[in-house]
Amino acid sequence: MRIVHVSYMHPAVAPGGAQQVAYELFQASLREGHDSYLVAALEANHQEVYGKPGAVIVPMPGEDRQFFYFTQFYDYYHLSVQDSRTIQFFRELVERLKPDVIHFHHYHRIGVESIRAARLAAPNAVIGLTLHEMMAICFADGQMLKKPSRELCYGASPTGCNKCFPDLRPEFFTLRASRLKAILGDCDVFVFPSEFIAERYTDWGLPPEKCVVIENGQIDLGVDFDRKQHSPAVNRFGFFGQFIDNKGVDVILEALLILARDKKVPPEGVVVEINGGNKHYATQPYLEKIAQYGEALKKISPSQISVRERGSYDREQIQERMASIDWVMVPSTWWEIFGLVVSEAWMFGRPVIASDIAALRDRVQDGVNGFKFPARNAQALADLMVSLIGDEQQWQSVNSTIEPIWSDIDMLNGYVSIWQEFKDKRQHGSIQLEAGETAAVEQSVTPMLPKPRTSKLPQEASELQQTASDSVKAVAPVEKAQKSAPKKGAAKKTRATV
């Protein structure tokens, strides 16, 4: 297949989950023999370094198949690029590439108009959009946290959103949502990394028949790692991720304070390593809270509790950081959409201790691949830590039942099966072309089928497609997204018919 992947940001410019997934999908598709390209929309302040004067789209230096996309007149309110010149350049690029598939991984900075442009440029192509976040639903950066309380929000509504943004009338939110839904209507398929976010978007109004769950896959960084390795007292906990308000470092520190004040710290003691960057994105009140907890911990229990802040890390350092801890804590206080860090923990055989919320609730199974505690409940976390410290048998049990992670190739195969299905639908007319769209089948490049798999996955491409097709038939009518982790090798796809 000829595939154009479109992402917000690029891992080479700034790390981030969505762009990492898009990039790995792009790389995997190249490895599997697809004719793939990546277009990464960057922020305006990246233009000076990564852009060229006057250019909307520039090739990434040293790369034949990767482009940076600098959209002009971007409007955050409507996730919209309000510039025909920008959109024209994007449209022309797509026209030249003649893809079978254009798959977007975001709309922020890319602009929803780029989706429309893609449809016009490639009338017969499959257009997909993976929704890694909830910005279309929630104007508060997609966080679904109420302002200013940061309480969890269970559903957007015009009047509810007006409470977060009193300066914007309820009607604004009605129109914003209507516009986004209308433009997103050009997509053939919406992909979600978790059932949680799929349900949020179908509740919001995306047509369930277009919605598919495909978990994020990742390159396994722990292939050479001794997954059984652990400390004797299994008392070493690690936090990995961004040091920002929603990630719950404060919950960890509060749990430690509870242990210290209640004098419940096990004799083995407890070690917590904070591996977190981007602290500058945290709010000042949050950082002050963290500092207060840190000071309080020092005063109460300087010897039994060790908290070490190790700062940010890159992919090459993950193995070394994982080696020094037994458990990976994911105490997120917001709606975690997928939790790439969970996958990273499992790469290295680390059981996960996660908030019982959103995608974490679905992915983490108590006693199987980790443990859960009620989100934002430091007391529960403290109790859980006490129960786990020193229980080597428990750790080994969980460690042994952690399944290998869903790889980048697994993820790609899931995507390919979906693309192929919708490509067939477009070609066979079950998806109607709009007036003005031409049936350009004969102009498109003959799809390149995936090469036969090598060692990791057993199925041939044709088998995979057959499996995918069967899977669709089996679950299409009403079945909810599966609650258990999808099985490796299956087309990781379920209809989110909620």
């Binding site: 007149f73 409507h78 919209s80 309000q82 510039d83 025909s84 959109i87 024209q88 108009e113 429309r116 442009a117 016009l120 009338r169 009607e171 604004f172 009605t174 129109l175 209507s178 516009r179 209308a182 433009i183 209507g185 003005g436």
Partner: protein, 517 residues
């Protein structure tokens, strides 16, 4: 009138015979017994009327200050200040230059409360504030320092005034700001009606029309995706381009062919963004968009008139920027667009809050009475506030009621239709001169057009298939108190024009005319 309470007054040089010979009214009063002597008549009337220059008058100096004197490019002038003339008769306001004198008639002035003056000068329910507005035939005469003379029988004030030279728009907006923010002990509705229904109001409308002429001259028109169309949507935007990015997409998604969509940009600072967005939406969604850029905010009427003039078709659909399709009813709208001759009727639409509740279904006229409040101001004589006034108000049928499909199977005549959705034939619209620019910026021009349409063209009715949702407040973004002042003023203008007509046509203009559910 009890003469017992009068203070005894002696006028040694008063000549009874001479006074009676000179004053026929004194003779008549003496004959009728109203007065007992020529002296009594002189004391009661003659002194105040200055009929017999026997007593030398020494008028007191009135407290007061003329704080602003604005003169515009076209000769409009606005004087703002305060005057402590409580207890005096109506003063005369004169501007005296080297070789000329200009007078503001009382009807060109109004008085309003000044809390600061009441605090620092004299406490009490007296409207010390003074606004005087007029237009000099010469554009240049007032652009010099002059002497202001305020003369009442009992007192006077003289002050040198130096004009602030401003644009017509600024002088108009300044007065509108005063109108919208002022309060009056006598009752602000009554005070303003006295001013706005007279020469002051006429001058204000004239100032707006002068501004409109400037704002519309040399307007810029650009078409995107031009083609032959059978109907034109017209939407006026001010302070926002957002509707341009949303309306065509949602109408199209609903299956409505909008033909040509004309957006009038009444805020030229948004023109670049609007032209950019128009090209974008036209390219992406294959819709014809025409942008008309005004030089300034020309108001709803003039903007629509210009847009309709340049429209590529004769079938005009005026659509507010906060009007959107209802998917369940879009097919009916499309049927009208695709087939129907609009005829000689001016059509309005059914506007909804949501799928099931009407926002309104046509309009009618109500009239409210406002009685002058008790204050220390004069209640008689020129310029004084009448005891009461009545103002027309436009009201909506079926505000917020559940929709009754059975009632709306046929078109229904109504007194007025809202400018939020209007459909008509361009030639008939232009035959009656289009929307009136006698309303400042916006409001009441739709009611005005409805009345004139019925008189000259034909029925005014609600088309049961023109169904839309009206998201009030998501249209143009008005900024500034003067827009509220314009809205207030327009009600007075509308009343001046149609108050009598309403009284004589209750059956066709009031709620009694129907046709709400």
């Amino acid at each position: 009138m009890s003469k017992d309470v009068w203070l005894p007054i002696t006028v040694p040089r008063f000549d009874e015979r001479h006074y009676l010979e000179a004053s026929s009214s004194a003779q008549d009063a003496l004959k009728s017994g109203e007065v007992e002597s020529g002296l009594e008549h002189y004391l009661r009337y003659g002194i105040d009327e200055n009929r017999y220059e026997l007593i030398r008058r020494e008028p007191t100096t009135l407290a007061g200050s003329m704080e602003r004197f604005l003169v515009s490019q076209s000769g409009f002038c606005l004087m703002l200040g305060w005057l402590g003339d409580e207890g005096c008769d109506q003063p005369r306001y004169r501007l005296i230059g080297g070789d000329f004198t200009i007078e503001f008639p009382p009807e060109s002035t109004f008085r309003y409360a000044r809390a600061d003056v009441e605090t620092s000068y004299k406490y009490g329910a007296y409207d010390y504030g003074l606004a005087a507005f007029g237009r000099c035939p010469s554009n240049s005469l007032l652009k010099q320092s002059m002497l202001l003379q305020v003369n009442a029988t009992a007192g006077s004030l003289q002050a040198k005034v130096t004009p602030e030279l401003v644009s017509d728009k600024r002088i108009m907006d300044t007065l509108l700001e005063v109108i919208t923010t002022c309060q009056a002990h006598a009752g602000v509705e009554s005070v303003l009606n006295n001013f706005l229904s007279g020469p002051g109001g006429l001058t204000l409308v004239e100032a707006f029309k002068t501004h409109v002429a400037m704002a519309t001259t040399g307007h810029y028109v650009q078409r995107f995706g031009a083609r032959k169309v059978t109907h034109s949507f017209v939407t006026v935007l001010f302070g926002s381009t957002e509707p341009l990015l949303i309306q065509p997409i949602l109408f199209r998604e609903a299956g409505i062919d909008v033909g040509e969509w004309i957006y009038v940009c009444n805020s030229p600072e948004d023109a670049s963004a609007m032209l950019r967005c128009a090209k974008l939406i036209s390219d992406l969604y294959d819709v014809m968009i025409t942008i008309v850029v005004m030089n300034d905010n020309a108001g709803f009427s003039a903007a629509n008139n210009v847009a309709i003039e340049v429209a590529a078709s004769d079938r005009i659909f005026v659509i507010n920027p906060d009007v959107y399709p209802l998917k369940a009813h879009a097919e009916r709208v499309q049927q009208i667009l695709a087939s129907e001759d609009l005829g000689s009727t001016m059509w309005g639409g059914l506007l909804f809050y949501d799928d099931n509740h009407l926002m309104h279904s046509g309009m009618y006229i109500e009239r409210d009475a406002y009685v002058r409040r008790n204050s220390l101001n004069r209640t008689e004589g020129p310029g004084s506030v009448p005891q009461h006034c009545r103002l027309l108000r436009v009201e909506h049928f079926d505000k917020g009621v559940p929709f009754d499909e059975a009632w709306w199977r046929v078109p229904r005549e109504v007194p007025l239709v809202s400018g939020a959705v209007m459909a008509f034939d361009r030639k008939l619209f232009q035959k009656i001169g289009g929307f009136s620019t006698g309303y400042i910026y916006g409001h009441y021009e739709d009611a005005d057009l409805s009345i004139r349409w019925r008189e000259a063209n034909g029925p005014v009715a609600i088309h049961p298939h023109l169904r839309f949702v009206h998201l009030e407040g998501q249209g143009s973004k008005v900024r500034g108190e003067f827009y509220r002042g314009a809205f207030m003023s327009n009600r007075h203008f509308f009343t001046s024009r149609y108050g009598e007509l309403f009284d004589n046509n209750l059956a066709t203009l009031s709620k009694a005319a129907g046709s709400g559910q």
